[in-house]
């Protein structure tokens, strides 16, 4: 096994139930080879660097359309990367979660290439809808960039949720699996964000940690997947009705964060000599 090619990961990528052609490409341009390279790195981080604990993985349906909706935690998308890794490494059969990434990533050389070969598409409603109608797994962070911009002392809080994911769940009749990601704030403790400098790169912000760059510390992480929720209503309902559904999902995630944070603290205390 090498850091860039883990045979175990390659075997799991082979078992993904996606319509790959003989070239190992699916209709979105997702490449088995690129997935294996990328997940080989993520797998090492997941198992050896952070040691991620996952609870409730059985709540994620093994097949069919589904939306994973959770909190942002950590100054960069470490949370998304570990959720994706948990879906590939822990699910039976393995699943590829597809996230909606920030538009600026598509402007940057190599980053644009990487996002398109791994199925992490630009955050557009058309992309989200297509992924669900193709019976795939969509990863959504309704806090958006506001969520990853949370500072260290705000790490267990939830900022404002967008409402698009609720209308999308209603229009596509998709179950939502809420999840909480714990520990991202400890891994990348943002003390301030540089907004003006980020504008030069087209990014929403640049997080600054006590060691300046957002390189993650080696800390344990925890992901809690809650029971699936089926929302009832019409995608054409007025904002007030949709906001009530958004709030109900937000409350479920907040409850998962509270439970997860407590268990995380307990397990860390038990680990102390």
């Amino acid at each position: 096994m090498s850091l860039l090619w883990d045979e175990e990961v390659a075997a799991r990528v082979d078992r993904l139930e996606l319509p790959f052609n003989k070239r190992g490409l699916d209709p979105y341009g997702i490449s088995k080879k690129d997935l294996t390279r990328w997940f080989s790195i993520l797998s090492w981080l997941y198992k050896n660097y952070f040691t991620v604990t996952v609870e409730g993985i059985g709540n994620v349906p093994p097949r069919g359309r589904c939306m994973l909706v959770g909190n942002h935690s950590g100054g960069v998308a470490l949370d998304g990367a570990m959720v994706l890794a948990s879906m590939l490494l822990e699910m039976e059969p393995p699943r590829l979660a597809q996230a909606m990434v920030e538009k600026f990533l598509n402007l940057i050389p190599f980053s644009a290439q990487w996002t398109s070969r791994t199925g992490q598409l630009t955050g557009l409603p058309e992309h989200a809808e297509r992924i669900l109608r193709d019976e795939r797994l969509l990863l959504v962070f309704p806090e958006g960039a506001r969520g990853t911009a949370k500072l260290y002392w705000e790490r267990h809080s939830l900022v404002e949720f967008g409402s698009g994911f609720v209308r999308l769940a209603l229009s596509t009749d998709t179950p939502i699996v809420p999840f909480a990601f714990i520990g991202g704030g400890e891994a990348i403790p943002t003390v301030m964000n540089l907004y003006k400098l980020a504008k030069l790169f087209g990014a929403p912000y640049i997080p600054i940690t006590p060691w300046l760059v957002p390189l993650p510390r080696r800390v344990p992480l925890r992901i809690l997947y809650g029971e699936p929720v089926r929302l009832h209503g019409s995608p054409s309902d007025e904002d007030a009705a949709i906001e009530a559904l958004v709030e109900s999902v937000k409350q479920r995630i907040a409850a998962l964060i509270a439970a997860g944070t407590q268990r995380h603290r307990d397990s860390q205390q038990r680990a102390l000599p």
């Binding site: 209709p27 341009g29 598509n106 940057i108 644009a112 630009t122 557009l124 297509r130």
Partner: protein, 305 residues
């Protein structure tokens, strides 16, 4: 059926004309260029579609169906004439269709209508707006011609208008936008970008146009072939070598070192994909591409080497 094809001497149009002729249709054509060695039963009028003589062809021969392929798509041709042919020529075709009793008119357009941009969706449905004008203003006349053709659906409701937005074609003719780019042994790419490319065999493209005619299709449809593939894979499969070049260098290199003289906007098509969803067309017509990506590339290589 009596079918008139403006732009008949184009590579794809000739294939369409030959297929329709072989299927027993009476085929006529209009083009400024001659078609040497045309099948003897296909009558070609060597005139400009915008001139009175072209109207006389409609008046005298009263075609039941028209397949409009007289648009100039070469990006290296950038002059007033191109804009006038694409816009006024399209207007003339639809006006003549309506005035001289044609029942059907098919406008053969391009999928590049949708444009390539960092924030455009991967798959385009027919309802998507034309983004090409923002990233690639040189395509404005083709976008306008497409929209103008679509407006015939309400301007001439008695005429069955069909707008086809077709992806790149590739095949033994070794002509067209994609083939031109793939001819050289070393094919430049923008460093750090590898967009999906969607292409179809020339024969499949011609079949798709013919089936639209047979089915009397009405409306706007995307037409594609096999699953799209990354540009680097396409270049390698075509037996060429991809040469990644920084964007700024590539823009300066257009028109030099054997590269086509493309406008700077063309770089967007080397960075971002233009991929179309053709499920509506397949459902409406029952069309299925006969050639997969390997067979299509092999057909290109069989002639291009």
């Amino acid at each position: 059926m009596k079918v008139l094809i403006p732009g008949i001497t184009g590579r794809l149009a000739r294939t369409v004309a030959t297929k329709l002729h072989e299927a027993g249709h009476q085929v006529l054509g209009i083009d400024r260029r001659p078609w040497l060695n045309a099948p003897k039963d296909i009558e070609v009028f060597q005139i400009d579609i915008r001139k009175r003589a072209a109207e006389e062809v409609f008046r005298k021969h009263r075609p039941e169906a028209v397949i409009h392929m007289a648009t100039v798509t070469h990006l290296t041709v950038r002059n007033e004439d191109r804009f006038r042919i694409n816009l006024f020529g399209t207007r003339a075709v639809f006006d003549h269709c309506a005035h001289y009793g044609a029942k059907r008119c098919i406008f053969v357009g391009r999928h590049t209508y949708y444009g390539a941009a960092a924030d455009s969706s991967l798959y385009h449905g027919e309802e998507d707006p034309p983004f090409a004008m923002t990233t690639f203003p040189e395509l404005a006349d083709l976008v306008a011609a497409d929209l103008y053709a679509g407006s015939a659906l309400w301007r001439y409701p008695e005429l069955d208008t069909c707008v086809l937005r077709m992806c790149y074609t590739l095949g033994p003719s070794v002509s067209g936008t994609l083939a031109t780019f793939l001819k050289a042994q070393r094919v430049p790419m923008v460093l750090g970008f590898d967009p999906l490319y969607q292409f179809m065999h020339e024969e499949d493209a011609a079949d798709a146009i013919c089936v639209s005619l047979e089915k009397g299709l009405r409306g706007v449809y995307n037409v594609a072939g096999p699953q799209p593939m990354p540009f680097s894979n396409l270049i390698r499969a075509a037996g060429r070598t991809p040469v990644p070049v920084p964007e700024i260098v590539l823009k300066l290199a257009f028109g030099r070192f054997g590269l086509p003289a493309l406008p700077p906007g063309a770089v967007a098509h080397l960075k971002y994909p233009v991929v179309i969803d053709d499920s509506s067309f397949r459902t409406a017509t029952g069309y299925n591409n006969k050639y997969d990506e390997d067979q299509t590339i092999a057909a290109f290589r069989s002639v291009a080497g």
